[in-house]
């Protein structure tokens, strides 16, 4: 059972961390602090404007990529741990 619990705690921490990046890129850089960031040039564009219309979307795609990759690893690790201690295996997942 505690394999499942530890798995879920790690999953929550990962999700929280990625959502912080989501909020910083989408709301922080692109809306709340856009005026300040617009003073910085990114190529020939103001950085805040670029974040709002381009950069944030790239960050979003990257976040989902990382989530899928890291969660997949965590799944494999959890399967190994669960196999290691069969008696306390997580609840079997009957669909439905």
């Amino acid at each position: 059972m505690h394999v499942a619990k530890a798995y879920w705690r790690r999953q929550l921490r990962r999700t929280g961390l990625l959502l912080v990046v989501w909020a910083v890129a989408g709301f922080g850089c692109s809306i709340l602090f856009v005026e300040q960031l617009n003073r910085i040039s990114f190529g020939d564009m103001p950085f805040g404007f670029w974040m709002a219309q381009q950069g944030s979307i790239y960050v979003f795609i990257l976040l989902i990529f990382l989530y899928a990759l890291l969660s997949g690893r965590a799944d494999r690790q959890a399967t190994l741990e669960a196999d290691g201690e069969k008696d306390t295996a997580p609840p079997s997942a009957t669909e439905g």
Binding site: G26, I31, L32, D44, M45, G48, A52, I61, L63
Partner: protein
């Protein structure tokens, strides 16, 4: 060959392909009909989700809106992509693990209540119908402008095509035609954008060419007495930009026709990866759109700076004036403001290839792309309506003993009925429905999003909390929108009753409905008995992906 002849060719070929794919993916079981047998590969589901998601509004209207809003257009760009992060991290993998057919299924089982299931089914039907009417109308407009056939006939052709693959193939037919429709629409969107980027800057990548155009665009806006294109918060306050963006994000994550796509893949891992593919595919269009918006604005303003009032005699202005999407004022076009006033936002994507004098075959592509975007979204929405009626209301509440054969028949019948109703709503739009379409996101954010997230992440959430939260979120948002848009919604009113709520306008007010929903669900759950042990076990299972 003329533009019209090329349009017949591109539309004819793509429609024939959709019909062929639909025929090849016909199904014989309810599992095939509702969730495509849960065997769709992650990358195919990603493409199908992208086509499902990007509607006539994304394809036709969005770049035009951004073009006129400048920086503030970012609300659509971020709102409609950032929602996928919420969807991928908070909803999709868990709902796939839960593994039934519909969103009301999850709400009904997680909150152990047929009432909750019915409330969710009604909300799903309502949100989807308001959304689908606009798609059918989009089909009619595209046919009318490019093929010069009557609007009603255009809608009818769209209905026949959708009915064919949706009735025969259900979700499976819809999924594989959506994959084809994604290819058509992304090709049709990017080819003209690349051509124009090359023409203007010599750089074929629109996302990079932006950089060269922005300083020129800002300069020309300045010369014509307009504020700088990249200046933030010119039309919307910072608070509203924030609220609308968040509202569109949560709404995206809560829209049933998007969520249900994640039920069609093999397992949890595939659900996570298909969210990635979906946003990658969507991102191609969404990072191109702001470039298209800039190119179009630059082109139009530059023509005006050169020609002055004579711009009204340009052939593209004349062509679009004939359709009513350009209205040249009595005294002609004297100022840049009058010019922008005269042009309907919707023509930016449709007319840019023409304005930039691209070859006829490229212009023809745009019509096929717009039709693909509208049809793919319409079919996804129609499946949600049919499954809510046939699976959640008929199969679970009215006649739970129904045989598999009977269920499949009812499913097919409902999707056929939904196609007909959607077509009629497209031809005879109710003013009320048209107004609510834009707010479907607010309603989805205020109803589904909080109860699903809490259902997964907070075991203590119970039946009483969810029903109270969903109802209050929905009613609050609906009433607020009705008051703020009273002139279009309530008969006999000619001005809004309320301008804003705590500074948040109608488009973003769903965020407040969402916060209310969260607060009420949590509050009521804590004051009422815990959910049964079987439900808490279910939540445990949903969180842990291994079989």
């Amino acid at each position: 060959m003329s533009i019209q002849a090329w349009t017949w060719v591109t539309v004819g070929i793509t429609f024939a392909a959709y019909l062929y794919i639909g025929y090849r993916s016909r199904v014989k079981s309810t599992k095939g009909f509702y969730v495509a047998g849960q065997g769709v590969p992650a990358i195919a589901n990603g493409a199908a989700t992208a086509a499902d998601w990007m509607s006539a509004a994304s394809f036709i209207s969005m770049a035009g809106l951004i073009s006129f809003m400048g920086f503030d257009g970012a609300v659509y760009l971020m709102g409609w992509t950032g929602g996928y992060v919420l969807l991928a991290l908070l909803l999709a993998p868990f709902l796939r693990k839960f593994g039934q057919y519909t969103v009301p299924d999850f709400v009904g089982v997680r909150y152990y209540s047929q009432t909750a299931r019915v409330v969710a089914a009604i909300a799903a039907i309502f949100v989807s119908f308001t959304y689908v009417a606009g798609q059918m109308a989009g089909v009619g407009v595209a046919f009318g402008r490019f093929l010069e056939i009557p609007f009603e006939l255009g809608v009818a052709i769209g209905m026949v095509v959708v009915a064919f693959f949706a009735v025969l193939g259900g979700m499976k037919g819809i999924t594989y035609t959506q994959v084809a429709q994604y290819c058509v629409l992304i090709f049709a969107y990017t080819v003209p954008a690349i051509a124009i980027a090359l023409l203007l800057t010599g750089n074929p990548v629109p996302q990079l060419a932006m950089e060269e155009i922005l300083p020129k665009l800002n300069a020309i806006q300045h010369d014509l007495g307009l504020s700088s294109y990249s200046n933030p918060f010119t039309g919307l306050s910072k608070l509203n930009v924030f609220a609308i963006t968040l509202c569109l994000m949560a709404g995206t994550a809560g829209l049933p026709h998007v969520i249900v796509r994640f039920y069609t893949v093999k397992n949890v891992k595939a659900a996570r990866w298909s969210a990635f593919w979906a946003l990658l595919f969507i991102g191609i269009l969404y990072t191109t759109a702001p470039a298209v918006a800039m190119f179009a604005k630059y082109h139009i303003l530059q023509q005006f700076a050169e020609l002055g009032p004579a711009i009204a005699e340009q052939s593209w202005m004349q062509n679009w004036a004939a359709t009513g999407l350009v209205t040249i004022p009595e005294g002609g076009i004297q100022t840049a403001d009058q010019l922008l006033e005269a042009i309907n936002r919707d023509i930016i994507v449709l007319a840019t290839p023409e304005i930039a004098r691209l070859p006829a075959v490229v212009v023809a592509l745009v019509a096929a792309g717009g039709l693909a975007a509208a049809l793919s979204t319409a079919s996804g929405l129609l499946l949600v309506i049919s499954s809510a009626l046939a699976h959640d209301i008929y199969g679970s509440v009215i006649n739970p003993q129904a045989s598999e054969k009977r269920r499949l028949f009812v499913g097919r019948a409902m999707i056929f009925l939904a196609v007909v109703v959607a077509g009629v709503l497209g031809v005879y739009p109710l003013g009320f429905v048209a107004e609510v379409v834009a707010f479907a996101f607010g309603l989805a954010a205020a109803s589904f999003f909080p109860v699903i997230v809490l259902g997964i992440f907070w075991k203590r959430a119970n039946k009483q909390g969810a029903i109270a939260g969903m109802s209050i979120g929905l009613v609050f948002t609906f009433v607020m929108i009705a008051l703020m848009r009273a002139q279009n919604v309530i008969p006999g009113m000619d001005e809004p009753v309320l301008d804003h709520f705590l500074g948040v306008g109608a488009q973003g007010v769903g965020v407040i409905g969402m916060l209310l929903n969260f607060a009420v669900t949590i509050g009521v759950s804590l004051c009422t008995p815990d959910s049964p042990i079987s439900v808490r076990d279910l939540v445990e299972r949903v969180r842990y992906p291994n079989e």
